[in-house]
């Protein structure tokens, strides 16, 4: 249903047969609306009470396409019903009332209504309600894909087991992963990356924030959650109940999708994630991502994978636990890894099953490396990664890296995403070590290039923490890691040695990683992501703003076109409190 069309089989063309549930305590209106909707060739069910409506909806989960409800109901507030429907069934809900006061209408919108009609309602208003159904589906698909993409990156990052000292997964091309819905950080005014079209302020669901969210959800118990409870537990002052509600909605959606997709677990068999610590973050990242994705407003699209090149980062063990909060992920450039496109198992990116060796404790990170295979491009499609970019045949782009940093809890907290679902796939990073990626995964070479010195990183770490160095977004052209011309210019300054594979020739996707401390990019491309950095990753290829310390030369070769594919808005993942870099426009929005 998500991808297209509606779940109910209809012989006639949509919107004929649209299944509408009308809820109104006024019997006169109920009769009129029923007649009107029937005249529109819709299938109508009427209900006089909110609880009856919920009952009907719960009974037949896929039995309705849209709900129309009056605001004033005797047994339950219409807005409450709206919330329930949105969260539980994720159906579009239209509110109605004879009262057209702005405050009421606003309330409706805030609670998630997709429209607010004033009584008396005209036929023509009802004729067009199908657009809400269609729009929602389209957005859902997109959101899920973004989420999956993020997870994949995450997984890649975590799972990349590097034999070397940690190739850093160069962040994915965040800028390219930018969802059409731009996310504007509610707290930062800056628009991450390209997005500009969003009108409403959106909450940036940073990895950290998402982590809190997930923890709250798990604490309450997934089946007992409600936005209020979560909000209380999260204890984030600026967050509103509405933010949480919509995020929860997406989260649920995401999880259910994961469940469905769980068939192909990419257990990145070969990719063993030797590095550990990252796992957590990766996981959490994934979760965060998913959450982000779910939220429309959240530009979790930070997953900017450029399609198939999922940068699998091997997270260096050391990166994680030590004081540096960054996660060094090694890029698992395993030719056959699921991560890369070539991965034989087609998995859906969604099932972020890749568990990168790392301690991906959170099952949530279901980064599906499978995505990296040919499916990958599709998955990320919503990230605006142009399909063309996602070249399967090219080296799979392991975008994951970018994510790994996202998951790093800035302050060392491991983001453990506990998804009630599938355990993260394990990606054995062995092959990924990039070294021999002869196969499709070209990432390897890339990784080789980027090698992060631990020392450097550490030094950076401190800086990063303090100063958000991260934003090193470097674009890695996944596609062709082979000819990676490693830029040795490490991004110094804050020790972000981001070695960009300058020669990203076929790298259609540039992964922008907001990597904070970049170790010297030499052979092993190691990107150490510090929590803050991740956020900086904007997959938007086009707008890669490199911090001054960043060696622009690195990106010189990066074809810009890669960027636009993914406008991954890492900003979402960015915890505003932590990465000030983002504000510096380092990330390509």
């Amino acid at each position: 249903m998500m991808d297209n069309g509606f779940s109910s089989p209809r012989k006639d063309a949509f919107p004929v047969g649209l299944r509408v549930l009308v809820v109104d305590d006024d019997p006169t209106w109920l009769k009129i609306l029923e007649k009107m909707l029937r005249k529109c060739s819709y299938e109508v069910t009427t209900c006089g009470l909110a609880r009856d409506a919920l009952h009907l909806l719960r009974e037949r989960k896929d039995g309705y396409d849209i709900v129309i409800s009056d605001v004033n109901m005797p047994d339950m507030d219409g807005f409450k019903l709206l919330e329930h429907v949105g969260l539980e069934m994720d159906l579009p809900v239209i509110m109605m009332s004879v009262d057209g006061e702005t405050s009421q209408v606003m309330k409706g919108v805030q609670h998630g209504a997709c429209d607010y009609l004033l009584k008396p309602i005209r036929m023509k208003e009802l004729r067009n309600i199908w657009q809400h159904v269609l729009r929602k589906k389209i957005n859902e698909v997109r959101d899920i894909e973004i989420l999956e993409g993020m997870e994949s990156i995450q997984m890649a990052r975590n799972g990349l087991d590097q034999s070397n000292d940690g190739h850093l997964l160069c962040g994915e091309d965040l800028t390219s992963v930018k969802k059409r819905k731009d996310v504007e950080s509610k707290h930062d005014d800056k628009d991450p990356g390209d997005n500009s079209s969003t009108k409403k302020a959106r909450v940036v669901w940073s990895v950290d924030l998402h982590q809190k969210f997930v923890e709250a959800v798990n604490q309450i118990g997934f089946d007992k959650v409600g936005p209020k409870k979560i909000l209380d537990l999260m204890n984030v002052p600026w967050l509103t109940r509405e933010n949480v509600a919509s995020h929860l909605q997406k989260y649920r959606l995401y999880l259910s999708r994961l469940q469905k997709e769980n068939d192909t677990k990419i257990s990145v068999g070969g990719i063993k994630h030797s590095d550990s610590p990252l796992g957590d973050s990766a996981n959490s990242f994934g979760t965060q991502n998913s959450i982000n994705i779910q939220q429309n407003d959240v530009s979790s699209r930070s997953c900017g994978f450029s399609g198939n090149s999922l940068l699998v980062q091997n997270v260096e063990p050391r990166s994680h636990d030590n004081d540096r909060k960054g996660i060094v992920s090694k890029i698992v450039a395993e030719p056959k890894r699921a991560l890369t496109v070539e991965v034989p198992d087609p998995h859906k990116p969604r099932s972020s099953q890749m568990e990168f060796g790392h301690s991906l404790t959170s099952s949530a990170s279901e980064v599906n490396y499978a995505e990296y295979d040919s499916n990958f491009p599709t998955k990320f499609s919503w990230w605006e990664i142009p399909q063309s970019r996602l070249k399967q045949e090219q080296k799979p782009l392991h975008l994951d890296d970018g994510f790994s940093h996202l998951t790093w809890p800035g302050k060392q907290q491991h983001i453990q995403v506990d998804y009630p679902q599938p355990a993260p796939p394990i990606i054995s990073g062995s092959s990924v070590t990039g070294r021999g990626m002869g196969g499709s995964v070209k990432i390897k070479p890339l990784y080789d290039e980027c090698r992060k010195n631990g020392s450097q990183v550490s030094s950076t770490e401190s800086t990063i923490e303090a100063s958000h160095v991260q934003t090193k977004t470097y674009k890695v052209n996944h596609q062709t890691f082979e000819p990676i011309s490693t830029n040795t210019s490490s991004l110094k300054n804050q020790a972000s040695n981001l070695r960009c594979i300058s020669d990203l020739e076929s790298a259609q996707k540039n992964i922008n990683w907001g990597m904070s401390p970049f170790a010297t990019l030499d052979d092993d491309f190691q990107v150490r992501w510090v929590q803050g950095d991740c956020y900086a990753m904007n997959l938007g290829l086009e707008n890669i703003d490199f911090p001054e310390y960043f060696d622009r030369g690195l990106l010189a070769d990066v074809p810009t076109h890669l960027y636009d594919a993914v406008s991954f808005d890492y900003q979402n993942l960015y915890d505003p409190t932590e990465c000030s870099l983002i504000e510096q426009g380092l990330f390509i929005a």
Binding site: D26, W29, P120
Partner: protein
């Protein structure tokens, strides 16, 4: 009476309902909804309205007997009633509802009572007129009555 004359009579009798502001476009919408599947749709809806709204009127009357007046409750009840009245296009009745709510918001108990009296008058007047109208249309035949006034 000839068919044609009946039709004309029907048309003539319904026109003033609109001209004099008793009914608005919503009533026309109802007429448009009337078809072969529901040949008496308009009358059915109006009947349903009067039946259901009687309950609401009673609730308001009871609330108005309270001392002190609970304006919030009154406002809510009237909101319901207004919504219902909008369903058949009862224009004058709706206007009285608005006045009533204004009085509620102002905390004007006297105003509320006065407005409510007026409202009940309009409500009763409309009912009579519609009853007469439907009687006529029944004679003519439902399908023929659904015609738009100019």
């Amino acid at each position: 009476m000839e068919r044609n004359q009946l039709h004309r009579l029907v048309a003539l009798s319904r026109q003033p309902l609109f001209d004099q502001g008793f009914l608005d476009e919503q009533f026309l919408q109802l007429e448009e909804l009337q078809d072969d599947a529901n040949p008496n749709f308009v009358e059915e809806v109006v009947t349903l309205y009067y039946r259901d709204s009687a309950r609401l009127i009673l609730n308001i009357e009871q609330a108005l007997e309270r001392n002190p007046l609970d304006f919030n409750k009154l406002d809510i009840l009237m909101h319901q009633f207004k919504g219902s009245s909008s369903s058949i296009g009862a224009k004058k009745v709706k206007a009285e509802c608005t006045f009533f709510r204004e009085n509620c918001r102002a905390g004007n108990g006297e105003g509320c009572i006065r407005t409510f009296q007026q409202l009940k008058k309009e409500y009763a007047t409309l009912r009579k007129k519609l009853e007469a109208y439907f009687q006529l249309t029944r004679q003519v035949g439902p399908a023929e009555t659904a015609c738009r006034p100019k």
